[in-house]
């Protein structure tokens, strides 16, 4: 299946081509961006449809058993389809939003897309690290694009923990190679249990810490809100939808394949990750409640949602994995809709403080409705998509007899209801002074359409949850039993 490699080659090539094009002929750059992004989405759609029947494997260079494989299984399909959906929307939104360093912004955006696609489809530990660093460096640079004080500081706070996290991942990879002599995931999955137990534990700790920094699990989350305040808004959508989900996917692959689910449960990893997840939910929601800046509020809300997403797979049961994956998908859509509509509200209010949003509900009816729909979805009210995934997570925790996380999931939803309701009441309260309605950039459809599309998806996936579950129900097959994964590769 040769086409898989183009998932990485296409955006990477576009990034370099774009650099040249900006130098010579600026006028064609936008059409190149649009064509490339749509081609990438089409490619993802085409590959995903085939990968749903049977995972696709490709070995660049035809090295057969020695090759470094690319694999598209249903877990990759989930993240790839999110990439194919969110990147075009972010690009359309960026037409109006990004006014500084436009050339560099789009180039970095394409490098980010290439990094994420590569990270999701690789079946090799060192390739994973390379794509992980490509994604990270592109994200650091994207945060710094607006050239404001906040963005430079946000970058600094992002890059130092991010680099340290990357180093721990590298240390884990080196120790794994030393122990097993393999870098392919299948080979490691076969021989990981031969490593002495103490070194196994060290490796897993390194991976959990390194990727945990990127996922923003609670003691390691402080970089995220600072980077969100300074970053361009379309990047924030990609960040909470893709950049923090892709390392999570990598971590889950590593945990499930290297250890088997029973070992995750008995070896204390379930306990550790559930504790971190519960802490993440509580701290994220409580700090989000205290924020006045809408960007920081949404950032802390993202932190809290990562807690939900990690609790499901941490249970190491099929139900937990399905619930967690569905929430990963739903959170990306909901947070995307929230950021996009919040951006329009910010333009209209000319302020990021939520107390300045008074009365905007009536002057921006469609956008505010999109904000409310996605807000209610993230709280977890029916009939929106957040309800379905939180229900699945709750069922999964109760099935595994983990009552404390179940309680915290419910409590977390309640806490998030409080602060989202606060914004809703401000939005729909009456404004005392008369409003100036001269400059109305909020009427632009390139900004409105992404917000409306994502929030309607929140409703649609809430009414028809079987649609995403068709993909997600196939995820556990290759993860729960590592033998199923190993058999995909030649010589396995």
């Amino acid at each position: 299946m040769n086409a898989i490699i183009y998932l990485v080659v296409l955006p990477l090539g576009t990034a370099f081509l774009l650099g040249i094009l900006y130098f010579f002929k600026k006028t064609y750059s936008r059409s190149l961006i649009l064509v490339s992004v749509l081609l990438h989405s089409g490619l993802i759609f085409w590959i995903s449809r085939q990968a749903l029947f049977e995972p696709l494997l490709y070995s660049p260079g035809d090295w057969d058993r020695l090759g470094i494989f690319l694999l598209v299984d249903s877990f990759s399909v989930l993240m790839l389809s999110l990439t194919g959906l969110l990147v075009p929307l972010a690009v359309i939104y960026s037409w109006r939003w990004v006014d500084h360093n436009e050339a560099k912004y789009y180039i970095l955006l394409f490098i980010l897309t290439a990094g994420i696609s590569g990270m999701v489809i690789t079946a090799d530990l060192f390739n994973l690290f390379v794509f992980f660093e490509i994604t990270s460096i592109a994200s650091y640079a994207l945060v710094a694009i607006p050239k404001k004080d906040a963005s430079i500081e946000g970058t600094l706070k992002y890059i130092i923990p991010g680099t340290i996290g990357g180093l721990f991942v590298l240390a884990g990879i080196i120790l794994t190679y030393q122990g097993t002599g393999h870098l392919g995931l299948a080979g490691i999955a076969r021989e990981f249990h031969l490593i002495p137990e103490l070194i196994q534990k060290t490796i897993i700790t390194f991976f959990v810490f390194g990727f945990g920094l990127k996922i923003a699990l609670v003691p390691l989350h402080t970089w995220l809100p600072d980077s969100y305040t300074g970053a361009p808004l379309p990047y924030n959508v990609l960040s909470s939808g893709l950049v923090i989900n892709a390392p999570l996917l990598a971590l889950l692959r590593i945990l499930y394949l290297f250890l088997n689910p029973e070992l995750i449960q008995s070896g204390g990893i379930t306990g550790l990750l559930i504790m971190l997840g519960a802490l993440t939910i509580i701290v994220g929601h409580i700090t989000a409640y205290q924020q006045d800046n809408i960007m920081r509020l949404l950032a802390y809300s993202s932190v809290a949602q990562m807690g939900y997403i990690i609790i499901g797979p941490a249970l190491a049961t099929e139900a937990g994995l399905i619930g967690g994956s569905l929430h990963m998908l739903n959170h990306a859509l909901m947070k995307g809709a929230l950021f996009f509509s919040a951006g329009l509200i910010i333009i209209k209010a000319r302020s990021r403080n939520i107390n300045d949003f008074q009365g905007l509900g009536s002057s921006l009816p469609l956008v505010s409705a999109a904000f409310v729909i996605s807000g209610l979805a993230i709280v977890g009210l029916p009939p929106f998509n957040g309800f379905v995934s939180k229900l699945l997570l709750l069922q999964a925790t109760l099935e595994s007899e983990q009552f404390l996380p179940a309680l915290i999931i419910l409590l977390g939803s309640f806490l998030s209801l409080i602060y989202y309701l606060k914004i809703f009441t401000i939005l729909y309260s009456k404004k005392g002074s008369s409003e100036i309605k001269k400059y109305d950039p909020a009427g632009l459809w390139s900004l409105k359409a992404p917000a409306l599309l994502l929030s309607s998806l929140c409703l649609i996936l809430g009414l028809v949850p079987s649609l995403p579950l068709k993909i997600i129900n196939k995820i556990p097959h290759h993860l729960m039993e590592s033998i199923n994964f190993i058999e995909l590769f030649p010589g396995g």
Binding site: D149, T163, G166, A171, I174, Y177
Partner: protein
Amino acid sequence: MLPAYITTGILIILGIYTILIKENLIKIVIGINIIESALILLLISAGFRPGAAAPILNQELEQVVDPLPQALALTAIVISASTTAFLLAIIIKIHKRYGTCSIHEIKNLRG
């Protein structure tokens, strides 16, 4: 093998100490670089075999060291170089804006 492990351990601890204790941003970058060097040393030692030749196979097969970690070390060096370059660029920006490289002073300036 053991001396390589011990050196790696000492260097990593030294790097983490530098990152945690020093308040000058340049020194923090140096700390990160120390950890990176330690990991590259660990990589090279992972492929080491006593008495083996360098992995250049132009004659008949002989006992060579594992070439894979060396390829990985090259990649790791490239990544660490680009991260360092980016970090230093950001620090220049910070210094232009705040006139200082000290974390505490930057915090105080923000208020």
